[in-house]
């Protein structure tokens, strides 16, 4: 039987019996739900140093992705602290937006076609350009990815990395006995690498740098120079909520645009007095851009005032001053004006 007919039949049967309240098909946009609730529920991670990580020193959840959660709260509710962070795993992150548990997820997630279609994620602009890399123990004498042919490669369950490696092993005609082991989360993965069960830990390079940086003896580990896939990382919301998706898309762009304009969390008061019509419109001094998005007219001020621009978020969490030291200069994550890919469409 056609599933749709079956579903409609079931639904009408239930309605007749008066057992079910009418399905809330025409529901509010998540934007209204969040404003009514007065709190944003944002899915993130607690096992990726630099991106979403429970810092044992401060006892706080910190990182690049976590800062994006706060930025969205600042934009939607005018207060960066009005956010509840839901810690997810690689496997349940998509379900969390599908069933409405989280309003938005920033979880180190690669944009792929399947995820944008069958998985039902509506992606926001790319927040970090990454690639699959490999972390090995220095003692193992592995110099390049080719040395791993026939070895045991470990990654996390439900990541794109898993599929990337299957293709790589097949495409490069490696020994089919090469093992790809998958663990539930990165700390088990790192423990397995450390114990020698895995010859290589593989995931996005940024995460590898984080684990190396956090290791008791970082110098025992090497991140190989090879990159075997492109992994553009972005936050996502559920599909079918255009208003919410559009609003958050432009919140993400605003972070990049603020950096391009040279607006930082420190110089915002002076910038408000700027005569530049582009900046005036961007900051909500002139015009109605914020209102049209369903946000406060001054949402950019709130976001940048609380969290800083893209560059500030980057430097605070993963930049050269941090233990992870992921260089930004000239990388894909630099502003387009410096040869990178960070680019915001104009706010007009």
């Amino acid at each position: 039987m056609n599933m749709k007919i079956a579903g409609t039949g079931l639904a009408s049967a239930l309605l007749l019996m008066g057992l079910a309240s009418p399905p809330a098909l025409a529901q509010d946009s998540t934007l209204q739900t969040v404003i009514k609730r007065g709190q944003l529920i944002c899915g993130s991670d607690n096992t990726k140093p630099g991106f979403g990580y429970m810092n044992p020193k401060t006892g706080k959840l910190e990182g690049f992705d976590v800062d994006y959660c706060h930025a969205v709260a600042a934009a939607v509710l005018g207060d960066a602290s009005k956010v509840k962070i839901l810690t997810l795993t690689d496997k349940n992150r998509f379900n969390a937006v599908q069933n409405g548990e989280a309003d938005v997820v920033f979880f180190h997630t690669t944009v792929t076609t399947t995820r944008a279609t069958a998985v039902g994620a509506a992606f926001l602009p790319v927040s970090f350009y990454d690639g699959t890399g490999v972390l090995v123990k220095k003692a193992d004498q592995i110099k390049s990815i080719n040395d791993l042919n026939g070895g045991t490669i470990c990654t996390t369950q439900g990541s794109t990395t898993e599929a990337v490696w299957a293709d790589y092993i097949k495409g490069h005609k490696w020994d089919p006995k090469t093992q790809v082991l998958t663990y539930q989360d990165l700390d088990k993965l790192f423990a397995a690498l450390n114990s020698g069960r895995c010859n290589a830990m593989t995931t996005d390079k940024s995460a590898l740098v984080g684990w190396k940086g956090n290791a008791p003896k970082p110098d025992d580990f090497v991140v190989l120079a090879d990159t075997i896939s492109k992994e553009p990382l972005a936050g996502f919301v559920r599909q079918g909520d255009t208003q919410w998706h559009t609003a958050l898309t432009w919140v993400a762009y605003a972070l990049v645009q603020a950096e391009e304009f040279g607006i930082t969390s420190k110089n915002i008061p002076e910038m408000l007095k700027s005569e530049n019509p582009d900046i005036k419109r961007f900051l909500g001094v002139d015009g109605d851009l914020g209102k049209d998005l369903g946000l406060a007219p001054d949402f950019v001020q709130k976001v940048v005032g609380a969290m800083g621009n893209y560059g500030e978020i980057y430097n605070r969490n993963i930049g050269p001053e941090t233990p992870y030291g992921i260089d930004r200069k000239g990388s894909l994550n630099d502003l387009w004006t410096h040869g990178g890919l960070m680019y915001s469409p104009p706010f007009r």
Binding site: A6, P23, Q98, G120, T152, Q157, E162, D167, K170
Partner: protein, 390 residues
């Protein structure tokens, strides 16, 4: 409705009530199904099983699957196989752990349980400590213990010693195996067939009249093997594992993940089975012991001939519960990366986005597995009871 000899009669009202309860239950199930369906539909996720025939693009670390064009043969998995084959591989791994787990936990549980009623103080206490320790800590934590603190602490492959052909390393445990040379692919089928044949002969020759055919029958099988082996030019040899850089080749290989999950399940379940065994032995009347001793039997003779056969009749029903728990607990394997059914389901669901369909399949598979275990054990139990009634 059997009223069991009482004079109870059901009134019309009772029938209406019962029909109402049944209809209500059906309505609740339909209601849940509909709300799931509507919920998914409102998120633009219709239920669709076509992902099963799509290419999985996965590289799974161990296990065999069915070649769908040759469904009698188990083959290694390749990334161009379908999602269905990936799930079959998961089921294969689950079955492997569950079956071996049931066999070994029963043996260990029996030994420990008998040890618990032993008059030997030391043995008794050792078994008590084992049971208490194992029963009172969570299985997941034991699993991590076996994996990270035991199996992964074995020496690395390149420094692991070979002991009578066995290599125990953190890359895996390797043992010698019997191998057909140059290629006798059907060796295991032939071995299985002769075992089945031998069992059939033993069964058919139970009657005193047929007893004379028993050993000649078995001898015929043995001679057939001898002739076949000679005719094929001694095609069997012991295959020793040889360590290379990343793994050993040859022999039988047990991965660390498989070894750890099996160890954890066997030890954990054995502790519970031991308590069932102890309870069943203690439930047999002490007069049975006395009667056995009066006949001049020694303690171990009394145990094997008098007490255990009676204890078995008490033991089987609660034992089934432990088997069912063991079968379900295999799903914890996900925590250490062993690709059991639940683990593979997670991976497939993540690559295709089909979690709802996948979880339905997984639930049906576990249900079928547990029904099968119950069925086999119930048949066995019925036979046991029938024997006792004779």
């Amino acid at each position: 409705m059997k009223a069991g000899g009482s004079q109870e009669r059901y009134t019309l009202g009772d029938h209406v009530l019962q029909i109402g309860v049944v209809l209500g239950a059906i309505a609740i199930v339909l209601g849940l199904a509909a709300s799931v369906y509507i919920g998914l539909a409102s998120h633009h996720i219709p239920i669709d099983f076509s992902f099963l025939s799509q290419v999985s693009g996965l590289h799974l670390s161990e296990g065999l699957t069915l070649d769908l064009s040759r469904p009698w043969d188990l083959v290694p998995f390749s990334s161009s196989d379908t999602n269905l084959q990936a799930l079959i591989l998961g089921l294969y791994n689950t079955l492997k752990v569950a079956l071996l787990g049931i066999v070994f936990s029963t043996l260990l549980g029996l030994l420990v349980g008998i040890g618990r009623v032993s008059p030997n103080w030391l043995l008794n206490r050792v078994c008590l400590v084992f049971v208490d320790l194992v029963r009172n800590t969570p299985l997941l934590i034991q699993l991590f213990f076996w994996y990270f603190a035991v199996v992964l602490q074995l020496p690395a492959l390149r420094s692991a010693a070979q002991f009578y052909g066995v290599i125990a390393s953190r890359q895996g445990i390797y043992t010698p195996s019997l191998l057909g040379v140059p290629a006798w692919p059907d060796f295991w089928w032939a071995a299985l067939a002769s075992l089945v044949l031998a069992a059939v002969i033993l069964r058919l020759t139970r009657r005193p009249g047929a007893r004379a055919f028993r050993w000649p029958g078995i001898a015929v099988i043995a001679i057939a093997w001898g002739v076949a082996l000679a005719a094929l030019g001694h095609p069997l040899r012991i295959d020793l594992p040889v360590a290379s850089r990343f793994r050993a080749s040859g022999g039988l290989a047990f991965t660390p993940e498989f070894s750890a999950i099996l160890l954890a399940l066997v030890v954990y379940t054995a502790a519970f089975i031991a308590e069932i065994v102890r309870g069943s032995i203690e439930a047999v009347s002490t007069r049975q012991w006395m009667a056995a001793y009066a006949l001049g039997l020694k303690r171990h003779q009394a145990m094997t001939h008098i007490i255990l056969p009676q204890a078995f009749r008490i033991l089987v029903p609660p034992l089934v519960n432990q088997y069912l728990n063991l079968a379900k607990n295999t799903s914890l394997a996900i925590a250490i990366g062993f690709p059991d059914l639940f683990n593979v389901y997670g991976t497939v669901a993540n690559q295709t986005g089909r979690s709802m369909e996948g979880i339905l399949i997984v639930m049906v598979a576990y249900l079928a597995l547990n029904w099968l275990i119950s069925l086999v054990m119930n048949l066995y139990n019925r036979r046991l009871m029938a024997q006792g009634a004779r």
